[in-house]
């Protein structure tokens, strides 16, 4: 942690990038951007640029990992060496190993795994540019990529972090707020079912802040859910037009 902490909140309650405490960063999702993958998505959230590819359901090697009654999910979250200010070694760090696990567990509840016994669904996440909240943006994009792969799901999963900046609860931390703020609580939910699929926190929170933080996260998650659905609709309505006009 650096020595001098920059001012993160102005007197009139605006954040370093001009947002209100309960405001998401501008977020765009593009669907079906990778030809080889069965499903794919690119998310831009603030300065985050994250690409997700889904392969599967497909045959699993080594075969002894397969389950007789459902598909397994494998997930790799990886940051490109150039995605952060100081070059990061391409070898997976302990952080990336943990995030791969929690992201997988955030998505699994939404996937109807029972539909594909003995197979694997592989999710590959590449963070091309990081700006805070990469795990949550990865989940939001991965859920869309899974839907794009045609995998049956109970719901989408959308995720956002809530944090504490100069004592104020704020939505969707950027890199600076994450680094110097007083706490970071990433939350993922199935928005229609209102069930939490990922919850982590560091820094300190009172019980009241936890309760308020979950409500604030849910507000952001509902907005991201609309962005996800819009991205999927756009992708398939333009695909339908291309097919009709014989361009595919």
């Amino acid at each position: 942690m650096g020595e001098e902490k920059p001012k993160l909140m102005t007197e009139d309650g605006r954040r370093v990038d001009g947002r209100r405490p309960d405001e998401l960063r501008p977020t765009e999702i593009e669907v079906g951007i990778l030809k080889n993958a069965d499903g794919s998505a690119l998310i831009r959230q603030g300065k985050n640029r994250i690409m997700v590819a889904v392969y599967g359901p497909r045959e699993l090697h080594p075969r002894h990992l397969a389950l007789p009654d459902r598909a397994i999910v494998r997930c790799r979250y990886h940051m490109a060496p150039f995605s952060v200010p100081e070059r990061k070694s391409p070898a997976p760090t302990r952080r990336e190993i943990e995030l791969s696990k929690v992201i997988r567990e955030a998505l699994e509840p939404a996937i109807i795994l029972e539909a594909f016994p003995r197979t694997t669904i592989d999710i590959f996440i590449e963070v091309l540019q990081a700006d805070g909240g990469t795990r949550t943006a990865s989940i939001t994009a991965a859920a869309v990529a899974l839907a794009d792969a045609g995998i049956p799901m109970r719901d989408l999963v959308a995720a956002v972090a809530v944090g504490k900046v100069d004592g104020v609860l704020v939505l969707d931390l950027n890199h600076l707020e994450d680094q110097y703020g007083g706490g970071d609580m990433p939350v993922a939910m199935m928005p229609s079912l209102e069930e939490i699929t990922l919850l982590q926190a560091d820094g300190t929170f009172t019980l009241e802040e936890l309760e308020k933080g979950l409500k604030l996260a849910m507000k952001g998650i509902r907005e991201l859910y609309e962005i996800q659905k819009r991205a999927l609709r756009e992708r398939y309505s333009s695909l339908a037009v291309e097919l009709r006009e014989g361009r595919r």
Partner: protein, 269 residues
Amino acid sequence: MSRPEEIIPKLRKDTIISLLSQGRRLDNRRPDEFRELKIEANVIERADGSALVSLGNTMVIAGVKAVLGTPYPDSPNEGAQIVNAELIPLASPVFEPGPPGEEDVELSRVVDRALRSAGAIDLRELAIVPGRRAWCIYIDIYALNHDGNLIDASALAAVAALYTAKIPEVEVRGTEVRVKEERRGLPMRDVPVTVTFAKIGGEIVVDPCYEEELVMDARITFGIDGKGNLCAIQKGLRGTFTCEEVVRAASLARKLSMSLREAVVKLKA
């Protein structure tokens, strides 16, 4: 990637769930009751600090070693805290030899976060020569017998080992650092503990034993600091929680954290 799930006879699972629906558990505990906790400190003379924790049949040992090192460039006036955990095959037939897997990494990172967020060790007091020399506090956690809830047992072992550790005094002459014979306690500012719950068929129980872990749908851990605030949260596995369940569990965790912390603080009394 996750190891293949253990096979638990379906009958056993049905038993656990039907008992829980009556508010009972396999070992007659209440849903909000921890197993018997024992902590023994200073069990390893060669370590600067150590603790052996048993939580029912779960057994975990943590050792602390203070090593003179160079501070991280972005925190020249601070020492370092490094937590490492290993689920070794000695502790259970389900653990295999090899490099740390995702469960080992998750375990060590959750313990690390709880200690760090609570400010358990005053890292500034571990600086010796700014930018050049500082104490690095290594906390190594080994599971010895796995009967469920390794997170809480590991966090207790880690904090108990730190709380009772004695590191050498140093003498600074210019940029030269001499390690002396005399020892002092670590600059501890808080004693955080973790409280872990399992969700099994819609019921939530604290401190799951191994058989309960085999049938749990989801797991959630809360780190609680000495002020009763949350200093870490980690949800795990494929199940889900509602907001109400999280808030209820967090407030129960705060209540249960007190007797755990007492057991650690008692070690120095």
